[in-house]
């Protein structure tokens, strides 16, 4: 399992190939979203909606053998691409690592320039929600 830092560096490398071209970057983000494994319709409930996103984002998580696995979907393609990046970084990591992770790839990529302030706030909300899941799993493990 690659570390959270390694995966972020991979993402930074991939985005650097796009040369800061906004249109190509947005297309790339959407392409990543298209590759995200489908979420079951019955999981797309009100309680799984991430609060603070303008688009609809559903997020769930499970704990298997001490590792956290997320599934997500969104009604907009760009947001789906964004959440897919987070899933790529966090999926299969121990709850503890997710909780302590520092995410630096957004700043390195210059994400806000590509997705704007509103979506950046939504992105922060997704991260918060993922860390909340991790916190709950950690508490569960320690109980």
């Amino acid at each position: 399992m690659k570390s959270i830092i390694d995966i972020q560096n991979e993402i930074i490398n991939e985005f650097s190939l796009l040369d800061g071209d906004k249109e190509m970057t947005v297309f790339y983000i959407m392409e990543l979203g298209q590759r995200l494994p489908a979420m079951k319709d019955e999981d797309k409930t009100e309680e799984h909606i991430v609060k603070g996103c303008q688009s609809k984002v559903w997020l769930t998580a499970t704990l298997e053998d001490g590792r956290v696995w997320f599934t997500a979907d969104s009604n907009t393609a760009i947001t789906k691409g964004l959440v897919s990046l987070l899933i790529r970084i966090f999926n299969g990591q121990p709850a503890e690592s997710i909780l302590n992770a520092e995410l630096f790839f957004m700043n390195k990529i210059g994400m806000e320039r590509f997705i704007g302030t509103q979506r950046s706030n939504g992105f922060a909300a997704m991260i918060r929600q993922m860390k909340l899941y991790a916190l709950a799993f950690k508490a569960q493990q320690e109980a």
Binding site: K22, E23, V26, F27, M30, S55, I78, I115
Partner: protein
């Protein structure tokens, strides 16, 4: 034989007046199609702001020094310019406000509180902006009044037959827009006003989307209130007007208390100033009001007819090209429209389209456009809206269409 009807606007020259248009966004020339939200400002407006602050900034009215005199004169000149622009009977009928939202709130608070009783009916249309809905809802809660809504037909026009049936002896007020911000529909306001008057109701017209595009003659319309926002008609943000018939404005209690709006203040009793000052409490937005005048001049010099011809042609061209794209549906096909094209694309969220167009330097608006009831009516979450101003070109429309087809191809 009559010459073909074409606009005589020299676009290249006209565009030079708008500095903001000449810039690159994300490495491409900016295409600004968000004019229904706010239009760009010509240099004359921008310069008027600088000249005021660097030449004669002073508080208006009551000042006896030279700068105050000059500022007061310029401020009042805008009132006279607006009077001519909408053909009001007198300048005293023009109240400066922050914009249409405040104008409607003023009428709802002042006229509404004084004249609407429990059980009275207020009619709105299904095409209204939230700012022409919420103030009336607040009044409804306060007064136990009844709100009725004119339904919207499939093509985005109002159902005038249904409107006739909504009018009763209890109808006290009708508030509708001159043109819809989300669909572009131009409403038959003259007919709406006449029918309301026959029922004994007063009428408020939200002219936010009309100011820059349509001829406005409040006396010919015989409307009781008319509202405009400067910033949607090439003027600064933060100012606009409420027109009201003098007879009504005189009966209405003040909206806010403070300086400017009083005649005499004693702790026992305060008497209020005459129109229009009764409704202009506190130091007004002097600079923006003064610069608003230049925006009106710009519209008048360019010519409303010439503007309408140009924009109508842009609308026709854009509608035809956008409608021809696969999987696109235009929302709002009224026979008479201002230059607004609202559309949805199968299985692509409007936010995504907006973001992808922005990557190509094309500014459009996405979402419900502060008209959630309109979106509900059509069973959609939102639309992509391109709205044109006099400085827009067919080449820009081509860029939009090219951008859209790239997105549609990508998402296939």
């Amino acid at each position: 034989m009559k010459a073909p009807v074409t606009s005589h606007i020299n676009l290249a020259e006209l565009r030079k007046k708008f500095p903001v248009l000449h810039q690159q966004v994300n490495g491409r020339n900016l295409v600004y199609f968000d004019n229904a939200a706010t239009s760009q400002k010509p240099l004359s407006v921008i310069n008027a702001l600088t000249e005021y602050y660097s030449g004669y900034n002073a508080n208006i009215h009551r000042g006896i020094h030279t700068l105050a005199e000059k500022a007061t004169k310029a401020y009042e000149e805008t009132r006279h310019a607006v009077k001519s622009f909408i053909n009001a009977d007198s300048a005293e009928e023009i109240i400066f406000v922050r914009g249409v939202t405040e104008a409607i709130n003023l009428v709802a608070s002042s006229y509404g509180r004084a004249h609407i009783q429990a059980g009275d009916e207020i009619i709105l249309s299904g095409l209204e902006h939230h700012s022409n809905i919420v103030p009336w809802q607040l009044l409804r809660e306060e007064k136990n009044a009844v709100l009725k809504v004119i339904p919207v037909l499939e093509n985005g026009e109002l159902d005038i037959d249904a409107y006739r049936k909504l009018l009763t002896s209890k109808t006290k007020l009708v508030a509708v827009n001159h043109a819809s911000n989300s669909l572009g529909t131009i409403n038959p306001v003259k007919e709406i006003i006449d029918l309301a008057h026959r029922a004994g109701a007063v009428v408020l017209i939200d002219g936010a989307q009309a100011g820059a595009h349509l001829p406005i003659d409040v006396q010919q319309l015989d409307c009781d209130f008319y509202c405009l926002s400067s910033h949607k008609m090439y003027g600064p943000t933060g100012t606009g007007i409420l027109y009201g018939k003098r007879r009504l404005l005189e009966q209405m209690p003040p909206y806010q208390g403070g300086g400017e709006m009083i005649k005499e203040v004693h702790f026992e009793k305060t008497t209020f100033n005459d129109l229009p000052y009764k409704f202009e409490a506190g130091t007004p937005n002097i600079a923006d009001v003064i610069a608003f005048r230049k925006a009106i001049d710009f519209i008048m010099e360019t010519g409303k007819e010439a503007i309408a011809l140009h924009e109508t042609e842009l609308l026709r061209y854009a509608t035809e090209k956008i409608a021809a794209l696969p999987a696109v549906k235009i929302v709002g096909n009224a026979q008479h429209k201002v230059s607004v094209v609202s559309f949805i694309v199968d299985r692509i969220h409007p936010f995504d389209i907006g973001q992808m167009l922005d990557a190509r330097a094309i500014a459009v608006r996405t979402g419900h456009h502060c008209t959630q009831p309109v979106m509900e009516r059509f069973g959609i979450e939102g639309t992509v809206r391109a709205s044109f101003a006099v400085y827009n070109t067919k080449q820009e429309v081509d860029q939009l269409v090219e951008g859209l087809s790239r997105i549609i191809n990508f998402m296939k």
